[in-house]
């Protein structure tokens, strides 16, 4: 099995020594993130997120299927996050690595279990027909912090996605093409975002945000918070690693909250910009019934 | 084979093999050929199950079995057939029992794990009376889930251990008492004290046990240890169940029936052969041209099957009155049912 290249001893010593002196290799502050870019594709539901060199693409699609027998009133919602060898040569297809398991569990807990998407709204005919919403996540480049980037991409993609409009007339279900009727966005309840903190030093008291791949390899432990802008924690996971002082978590939670608000703001702004650019001909304005009289 | 390879040299293998081929055989732990290793057993270890048991062998291997029962609607196609034959005809199906074997360090779809589970299932269902016990009425039946856990790493071939534990767990299994009658939807008594044993104490029927028997030379050896298994010429898994006899008389003893016999591929076939002194490379001679010829005291992996006479002898030894199966069942009878 191919193995990940490990940072050399001199790299290790250099980075950790620099951190002890309060310096990061790329001259960022400890709590400073790399520039975040978020772009949407031409299609609805395609979101491309990059944190520095880390780049993640998420694509949402929907189709009509039969709901699970045990939950006839719920739609189907899946997030697939298979990592391909494109991410790193050490990843083999069909052989889930630790990173992949943790990534898919994190998205499961943050987006699905926290009830961000109202799955009941995906139901068309109880027990017979429902929408199956599927998010495919592709990590295009891994330079650290893929958890946060992946989560942002998934949320952005779902928020941007519009499913075809349907009507139910008696027993007849009609699905309209975008030309016939304007597609509708998914019924969305709240937007949680992941914020990961990496701990360094003997005592784990140096806290870094948005580490690069090199920094990630050298951390002693990490902790991921998922919060929405209302200050609700959806998930916290510090899965092992060196022990960290308890009060530090409270500080981290506060930082995570403000960071989550930043992400929310960014997403809302980008969504608004995107909606505006799609509205060039002013078709929507014409279609509205309101006149300024 | 679920056991890890035994690390014995060809010389050691040859020594064990020749001492076991003597008449009577001399076993390294001093047992007689039909003697079993001591074991500790208890039942009712898991209050959350319908029946459970835990068995520890003296070599430290340990297994836990939990039995859970669920009510399931019998599939409609059975119902149709039953209409003609009347209520007396109780259609039973093999898939009412589900067995899952968990062995640490092995995947659950590993060939040896599946084979173990299938051998235990086959023995259970080979005893036709067993599935009949799960019949409630023409529309419903019990579905039994047997989860067999090997706690310790497999130190020897775990089949006898798992089989004995399963036997005890089934003996300790209790199902709620049926309150409803006929083909109506089943209703059960809430009182666990009123529940009934799947195998009633007073009837003589007992769940099957699977014994591992090895043949070495003309000797038949029961309950082989890991080392003995490593030199076995053939290994058999023999499953025996006690049938329900009409007249239960103490002096007559129980009626045993053979449920299944299976050949197990013994690990001895994979052992490296020894090199006779005469042909050792140390003395310069080439070891070629001696294929198939056995030299006294030099280990050679056994090939071929089991002789009919030996098979016959094994079955005789198991089934005869006061024989091995009788002895084991008597021993297990002593385990208190919680």
């Amino acid at each position: 099995m191919p193995r990940d290249a490990e940072p050399s001893l001199s790299e290790r010593t250099f980075v950790t020594k620099a951190l002890a002196e309060g310096l990061r290799v790329d001259n960022r502050k400890f709590d400073q993130c790399r520039p975040v870019s978020l772009t949407f594709g031409d299609e609805f539901g395609v979101a491309d997120v990059s944190f520095g060199k880390t780049r993640v693409l998420a694509r949402t699609s929907a189709e009509v299927t039969v709901p699970y027998a045990d939950r006839p009133f719920d739609g189907v919602f899946t997030i697939t996050s298979e990592l391909s060898p494109m991410v790193a040569p050490s990843i083999e297809p069909n052989r889930p690595t630790e990173t992949e398991v943790l990534l898919s569990r994190l998205l499961e807990k943050t987006v699905r279990r926290s009830g961000a998407l109202d799955t009941e709204s995906l139901c068309l005919i109880a027990g017979q027909k429902c929408w199956s919403v599927r998010v495919d996540l592709h990590v295009l480049n891994h330079d650290g912090n893929i958890l946060d980037a992946a989560c942002l991409a998934v949320i952005a993609s779902l928020r941007h996605f519009k499913r075809p409009e349907t009507t139910l007339d008696g027993e007849v279900l009609t699905v309209y093409t975008p030309a016939e009727r304007e597609p509708v966005p998914l019924s969305w309840l709240h937007s949680p975002f992941c914020v990961t903190f990496s701990f360094y030093g003997e005592e784990g008291d140096i806290v870094l945000m948005d580490p690069t791949w090199l920094e990630e390899q050298l951390r002693v432990s990490s902790c991921t918070f998922s919060l929405n802008r209302h200050g609700e924690i959806c998930q916290v996971s510090k899965l092992g690693g060196s022990a960290v002082d308890a009060p530090l978590f409270i500080q981290c939670a506060q930082t995570a909250l403000s960071k989550s608000k930043e992400y929310t703001e960014l997403l809302e702004r980008k969504l608004a910009e995107d909606a505006k650019s799609r509205d060039k001909g002013g078709l929507m304005a014409e279609l509205t019934a309101e006149n300024d009289r | 084979m679920a056991t890890s390879q035994v690390l014995l040299s060809p010389a050691e293998l040859a020594y064990i093999h020749s001492s076991l081929s003597l008449r009577p055989p001399i076993r390294s732990d001093g047992r007689t050929s039909t003697q079993f290793r001591p074991l500790t057993a208890e039942t009712g270890v898991l209050p959350g199950t319908n029946g459970s048991a835990r068995v520890c062998f003296s070599d430290g291997t340990e297994a836990i079995v939990g039995v859970k029962a669920e009510i399931e609607r019998t599939r409609a196609d059975n119902e149709q057939e039953d209409q003609d034959d009347g209520a007396a005809q109780r259609q039973v199906r093999g898939d009412w029992v589900e067995i899952a074997v968990e062995i640490p360090g092995l995947r659950d779809d590993d060939a040896s794990t599946v084979f173990l589970g299938e051998m235990l299932r086959e023995a259970l269902l080979g005893d036709g009376d067993f599935a009949r016990k799960l019949w409630i009425n023409r529309r419903f039946h019990w579905r039994l889930y047997l989860d067999i856990l090997l706690i310790s790493p497999p130190l020897s071939y775990p089949l006898p251990l798992l089989s004995l534990t399963t036997h005890l767990a089934l003996l300790a299994t209790r199902l709620p008492r049926l309150k409803s009658e006929g083909d109506e939807d089943p209703m059960f008594d809430d009182d666990w004290q009123a529940s009934q044993f799947l195998y009633s104490q007073n009837e003589s029927a007992r769940p099957p046990i699977t014994l591992l028997v090895v043949a070495i030379g003309d000797n038949v050896i029961f309950d082989p240890s890991k080392e003995e298994l490593a030199v076995a010429e053939s290994a058999l898994a023999v499953s025996v169940a006690a049938a329900a006899s009409e007249k239960v008389s103490q002096d007559q003893g129980r009626k045993l029936k053979l449920v299944s016999v299976r050949m197990v591929d013994p690990p001895s076939r994979l052992t490296p052969p020894g090199v006779p002194n005469g042909t050792s490379s140390g003395t310069g001679a080439a070891p070629a041209g001696k294929e198939g010829e056995s030299v006294e005291g030099v280990w050679k992996a056994p090939v071929g099957g089991t002789k009919f006479a030996i098979l016959d002898g094994i079955i005789q030894a198991v089934l005869e009155k006061g024989g091995v199966a009788d002895e084991v069942l008597d021993g297990l009878k002593g385990v208190e049912l919680a």
Binding site: M1, R3, E6, P96, E98, V101, L102, S104, R105, K109, R113, S114, G115, G204, V220, S221, C223, L227, G231, E232, I233, Q235, V236, S237, K238, L239, G240, G241, S242, A243, V244, D245, A246, F249, I250, A253, L257 | V45, L46, G48, T49, S52, D59, G60, E62, G66, V67, K68, A100, E102, P104, G105, R107, D108, Y145, D147, L149, I151, S152, P153
Partner: protein
Amino acid sequence: MPLDTSTYSLALLRVDGRRWNELRRLHAQIRTQAAADGSSYLEMGHTKVMCVLTGPAEQNQSQRRGQTSGGGGSARDTASINVNVMIAGFSSVDRKKRGRNDKRTQELEITIAKTFSSIVHTHLFPHSSISISLHVLSSDGSLLAALLNAATLALIDAGIPMSDYIAACTAGSTSSHSASDDSADPLLDLNTQEEQELPYLTVATLGSSDRIAVLNCESRLQVSRLEGMLVVGVDGCKQVKQILDRVIREKGVQMIREGAVDRSDTMVMDLDE
């Protein structure tokens, strides 16, 4: 299964009759398995787990490929810790079979492996592996905590050097995530019923210090409530550590009495207590 937890405010007693800061009965044994290098059996209320540990031993072929090896450091200079969690089909009320590839089980395995690889002095055993098999016989809440505690005991039983105990327990809050009432009490050591209904987190600390090795929360809760729950959880871990320590000491005293181990001069334990 919606559970009526509203009665809590009347008598301040929980569904099983405990008060907010009470642990369930914690019963543990070590050296339960003769054939293993280290073993333990632990009950936290109705959650029952068994741990069997082998190692440090030579790595076998499949482990060398490094499946669930605990992160940190290159695999060759330190012992790798392999964790295998087996949740028995009969462990919950309704029988549910979980495959080996279940992501939730894998996450538990990774968490336990990572926790112990930073506590155990793995650098003392290069080229070797420690495999921990955990069997869940019955699960009634606080599963991860019980698994961590059982693994700690088994590691101590095997005599593998480590810097301190890992003691774990769960902490919850009486109000659901949406309600923002300030009167909500934190709760200690939740059972399944409470876990399904209330927000909770699992905390594991290093010995009886305030340092947290594992913090896992899967339910929605207000960020302001985190601190209160964390304090209760850390306090619970201290109680758990005391109990685990007592189990080890009692077994040690018993082994000296039975003559299994020689009494050495460096021992400060008082055998007569």
